[in-house]
């Protein structure tokens, strides 16, 4: 089985980092995977995005056209990718920022005020991890131990303090309503 994911938002929201953590989860879980960032002019004007593929088989095209899972952290990215999501796909949006309303009825749509939740918990900038936590709880793609291992592998030792912060945000996200 292959799970294709698009993560999208403003530069600085930790879109590429979130994709990297998911990629490292795949690595720690012994899966095939690919991570492909947008770069260059695409990064200006609203939508930094990355494609992540997790599979039991070797990955073909690493560029995701029709995702099974979309995490959208701003309006422009939501509008750019919402119609591309596969039927029965999973969409998560940060409702603190995304104002658009979902018109599709053939997908699972989860809207949480991730930026506000992060601020309430004194962890500004962790909205990405909150959304990822909720996505993992919903999809069952990776368990929390795998995420812990991925963080430890991905985050360099001199910034190890970030592991606990991120893990806390993932847990808050996974329990969010």
């Amino acid at each position: 089985m292959t799970t294709e994911i698009i993560l999208a938002g403003f530069g600085g929201q930790g879109i590429l980092f979130t994709g990297k953590i998911l990629a490292y989860c795949g690595l720690m879980a012994g899966k095939e995977l690919s991570w492909l960032p947008s770069y260059g002019p695409e990064m200006r004007g609203g939508t930094a995005n990355c494609s992540v593929c997790i599979s039991d088989e070797p990955i073909g095209s690493p560029l995701v056209a029709n995702p099974d899972i979309l995490i959208a952290m701003n309006g422009p990215s939501y509008n750019k990718f919402i119609d591309a999501v596969k039927p029965n796909g999973l969409v998560l949006v940060d409702s603190s920022i995304v104002e658009e309303e979902c018109k599709r009825e053939d997908i699972t749509y989860i809207s949480i005020p991730a930026t506000d939740i992060a601020a309430e918990n004194g962890m500004n900038g962790s909205a990405n991890m909150i959304l990822m936590g909720r996505m993992l709880a919903e999809s069952g793609l990776f368990n929390i131990d795998t995420v812990q291992k991925a963080m430890e592998k991905c985050i360099p030792p001199k910034r190890a303090n970030l592991i606990d912060v991120n893990m806390k945000a993932v847990k808050i996200g996974s329990e969010s309503k």
């Binding site: 990297k20 990629a23 490292y24 690595l27 095939e32 995977l33 690919s34 991570w35 492909l36 960032p37 770069y39 260059g40 002019p41 990955i59 073909g60 095209s61 690493p62 560029l63 056209a65 029709n66 991905c154």
Partner: protein
């Protein structure tokens, strides 16, 4: 071996260091820059030289100088930068110097775009500079294969005394995939029979040169070089055949577009369409025999590239135009989707029979 996660550009650099590359000269350009950045960080620590030259032209001529002394040397760039290196590569071919040149292709012509493309196929395989010469051109299609290809590229450059190019693209350079590295090479080929590595007045000095004013002498040089090219054509072709057994439609594609095509072929096969993929791993020499094997049941060939169609001429030559060949491509930095390629497959086969 432990799997690590790395960008293609970084993996190319780490692989080069591990196979004994001691000199890297380059000039930054997107989408290749992570390669140079990795070299800047690691090369000195591993006992080598990293130097950011004042231009691509300077960098390639530094490679020429380093390779002349017998050390393993490399440069990397992206399309417009590789054009600037063309003169130096011709000089190296004319001086029989081994070196590795990496092109992480982007859209062209001119400054073009910085998104992935494959429009430098003609340049790499047909005319990487002036004069009668070839260079070996490898086309990996995954981060792991990039690593394996770097090792092969340095070995074959030394074996045949020729510049070798790795033709990648922005997609392969920017993406991360799991990768395992070989143990660092400790034994490298001895080049003291030709390299300008110091003679201490104990032997005749070696001359590294591409200027031969005596025409018959130059002709003899070129003929000798083409004997080596013949050996390369006989021994060094390589290709991957994916689901070509019984395939009535065979897609030909290399590098990033081959990955897109592979997804399309897998989908087509799952729906009963007899499609296969032929992916050359060497672009020069082009794997003619391997293509014949892949297309033995084919009624049609679909050539897929991120260009306006360049490799398709080699495909037609290799099959002597016996099999109808159609082209599909996107260019300028646009990456085709598996769905687009799948639609082409359906158009040509009429869907499942």
């Amino acid at each position: 071996m432990e799997r690590s996660l790395m960008k293609g550009n970084e993996a190319l650099a780490e692989a080069a260091i591990r196979c004994g590359c001691k000199c890297f000269f380059g000039y930054p350009i997107t989408p290749q820059t992570e390669l140079s950045a990795y070299m800047a960080k690691r090369m000195e620590k591993s006992g080598g030289v990293f130097l950011q030259a004042e231009s691509e032209i300077a960098a390639i001529n530094m490679v020429l100088g380093a390779a002349s002394t017998g050390v393993r040397a490399m440069t990397s760039s992206s399309s417009p930068g590789v054009s600037l290196k063309a003169e130096g590569i011709s000089y190296m071919a004319g001086s029989d110097l081994p070196a590795v040149i990496i092109n992480v292709q982007r859209g062209g012509p001119g400054l073009g775009s910085i998104q992935p493309a494959q429009s430098d196929y003609f340049q790499a395989t047909k005319a990487m500079g002036h004069g009668d010469f070839h260079i070996i051109v490898y086309a990996p299609c995954s981060v792991q294969e990039m690593v394996d290809t770097v090792t092969l590229a340095f070995d074959k450059a030394d074996e045949y005394r020729t510049p070798v190019m790795i033709l990648a693209d922005g997609l392969l350079g920017q993406m991360m995939e799991p990768v395992t590295f070989p143990e660092p090479k400790t034994e490298l080929p001895d080049k003291s029979d030709w390299a300008a590595c110091g003679h201490k007045n104990k032997r005749e000095h070696h001359i590294i040169n591409s200027l031969f004013l005596d025409a018959p002498l130059l002709e003899a040089k070129v003929l000798e070089r083409f004997e080596r090219y013949k050996a390369i054509e006989e021994n060094e072709t390589d290709a991957e055949l994916y689901m070509c057994e019984g395939a009535e439609l065979v897609i030909t594609a290399y590098g990033a577009s081959a990955r897109v095509a592979k997804s399309a072929v897998t989908k087509a096969r799952s729906e009963g369409i007899k499609a296969g993929l032929f992916r050359p791993k060497t672009l020069w020499p082009f794997p003619v025999k391997e293509l014949a094997e892949a297309t033995k049941d084919a009624k049609h060939i679909l050539d897929v590239e991120m260009s306006m169609g360049q490799m398709i001429y080699d495909v037609k030559l290799a099959t002597e135009c016996r099999i109808p060949t159609t082209f599909f491509g996107r260019t300028g930095g646009v990456i085709p989707t598996p769905a687009e390629v799948y639609d082409e497959i359906k158009k040509l086969t009429g869907g499942a029979q």
